[in-house]
């Protein structure tokens, strides 16, 4: 209403209300369009594998094992009732690291990690990521690669 100045003739006042209204409506349309275009820029879905997926029942991973799931590029570590999922994507150039006796070893450039994924050698700049694990209602373990957790955060079965 700030643009609605007082005028002598009543017709002028009505005119200015109408132009104000027209301007506001057009500006609103433009804003909605702009917003729509902005939302549109971010894809709603891509053809990558979903970040949240099931890796099977807890019984599939006996205590004391370190099982590498190649199709998902993660390693499932279980110790007693504690379970964690560690990424096997090398932080150097993205090769899939192998599970070795001392931890993880990358075949591409020789990066080496310890059991918890800390770098112990080679060109890797960062330690391996740990992902959040949860139990789905149907009893499956679910991993969400969008939710990294701190090293040493185990899921208690």
């Amino acid at each position: 209403m700030s643009e609605n100045h007082h005028h002598d003739k009543p017709g002028n006042s009505r005119r200015s209300i109408l132009s104000w209204f027209t301007g506001a409506a057009l500006a609103g349309s433009a804003a909605i369009s702009a917003l729509a275009n902005l939302v549109f820029l971010k894809p709603r879905a891509t053809y990558g594998q979903p970040s949240r997926y099931s890796i099977g029942k807890p019984d599939d991973f006996p205590s004391g094992t370190r099982i590498s799931l190649d199709s998902r590029r993660v390693c499932v570590v279980r110790e007693g009732q504690k379970l964690a999922v560690i990424s096997t994507i090398c932080t150097h150039l993205g090769c899939t690291v192998g599970v070795s006796d001392t931890g993880f070893a990358c075949p591409c450039h020789g990066s080496r990690y310890d059991q918890d994924g800390n770098v112990v050698g080679g060109p890797a700049p960062k330690s391996l990521a740990w992902y959040k694990v949860s139990l789905a209602p149907n009893g499956d373990l679910e991993v969400d690669t969008n939710l990294p957790v701190d090293q040493g955060t185990y899921y208690n079965l």
Binding site: T22, A25, I32, L35, A45, P50, S54, A136
Partner: protein, 618 residues
Amino acid sequence: MKLALAIASAIILIVHGLVFYDQFFHKWERHQTAYFDQARTQARNDAERAELSDRSPKIEQIIVTQFGDNRVDRCTTCHLAIDDPRFKDHFQPLKTHPYSAALGDVQRNGRWERRHKFTDFGCTVCHDGQGRGLETEYAHGNDEHWNDPLTGYVTQANWRKEFKTHLVGKEYMEANCAQCHTEENFPGTPHVNRGRELFFRTNCYGCHKIEGLSEGTLAPELSEAGHKFKIDYLWESIVDPRANLATSFMPKFNLSDEDVKCLVVFLKSRRGVNFAETSLARYRTRMSPAKAEITPEAVLNKAVPKAADLVSQGKQLFEDRACTACHKLGEKDGGIAPDLSFEGKLKDEEWLRDHFRTPRSRVPDSIMPAFRFSDSDFAALTAYLASQQAGAKLADGAEIFKTLCSRCHGDKGDGQGKTAYYLDPAPRDLTKRAFMNSKPDDRFIKSITDGVPGTSMPAWGKTLSDEQVHAVLGYVRTTFVKEPQRNLKAHANVPDANPTPTSKASVANGEATFLKRCAGCHGLKGDGKGPNSLDIVPRPRNLRNRWFVTTLNDRRALESILYGVQGTAMPSWIDYGLTVKDAADLLNYIRSLNPPPAPAPAAGKTIATAGTSPRGTE
């Protein structure tokens, strides 16, 4: 002016708002929010609750890469709870996918474990529909142009009302089970198994080809029927073959609804594609020659329980194999192929046997497929047909004509009976006076009594007395020809027997004349399919019809060549400068096209019917 502008801008704002709302606020978001809310109330601890609060609605998708060609299914965007057993009594879309031992799911420690995990197989592999769709209409395939709507759950608006109720049910999904479970008797797909058996038992395989199963050539190939057609089209085509193609000559099989359903499920399973295979694997399979086949023999030989004696076994087979879908026997009439009610009197067993094995060995232009029955089945069918000895009690010519002749020659005698379309040569048009009055009665009596070999005209003399034959001819003359017969004079210059003995020179001369004068209609091969033949009714005679040509007497052949056949397109060649000698050479050539058959096969191959033969002495 300003007012108009203001109103226009208001409208623009509203439209923009609506489009934005439509594009960015989705039903599936509401479904997901509802799921999160309800799951939160059922959560066992705070951690779970917190985790659910973290989740916000987003497009969920299953991307299948390890099973056949890649597949993207976003069904879980709405059906978020399919793997959450707490929602088993919820309404759709938030309902748990049922667990079923029949699908291979197993229960372990009180928890079900799926055999077909959604993340491994996706959804559309079993359910069809459109995996990428995010709105009910798109995803479920309600649209009439979408070929594979949600199987067993969706019937599209343009489907015929009579069938719609039949096209709903989980059993239709068996068609998709059978994509991968191709074993012949897989217990999970009873409808497909029964449909496959019916495909053989009702003789579909005789006409239709399905890769790996049958080699019929008469009807459209069905190897990829499930890929090309919707279930309503399949159902309609089986129940009412002419609904989609007015010229179809597929018989109506009068199957029960349950049997039709089995056939539809079986045909829907013929997609020409195994879902479990990638395109590359499919290509390799197609290239490798040796492939396990299910042969008709393998299915048929165990399909029918063997009865005590040959005749009743034949009867059982006759009914089981839907013979009356084409043929007539007693009350049942398929309206396509000849009446078999008097077959035992009209044909001998040798004829029947030969005709079963290779129909074209006896009627060279027959459209009957060669069915792959076992020798013992053929023997039983032969015995059964040979037992059809009932002579008809027929009072007068009119009744005889109506009972025996009108099915082919038509009620009006115009050669347009209901089977006429399928017979080659076509039944004679008895109303054509030019023809009927140019031939002596003896000729017609002979045709009725002895039949016309190599055609579908049987030897009625075997079931009718001479008086009856004369009576029916009299009926034809008075009812259809309606014109007194002219005084026929035999042509004096036509010899009774071929005056020129056959020789290489004579045959060569005959061939030269044939190619010059006759091939235009009778065809270069003499098979009656020359370039002009399509415009001519009745069609030119097939001169490679061995049975016809060998029983044709010299006089009739020479007369037809020299003086033409009245009422047909065959001209009087003597007017075009052909001499008796030329005609004789032509006849020698035509006879040389039909050499006597090769000696009969070894005795071991003949069917043992002795002793059980029901054929009486006449």
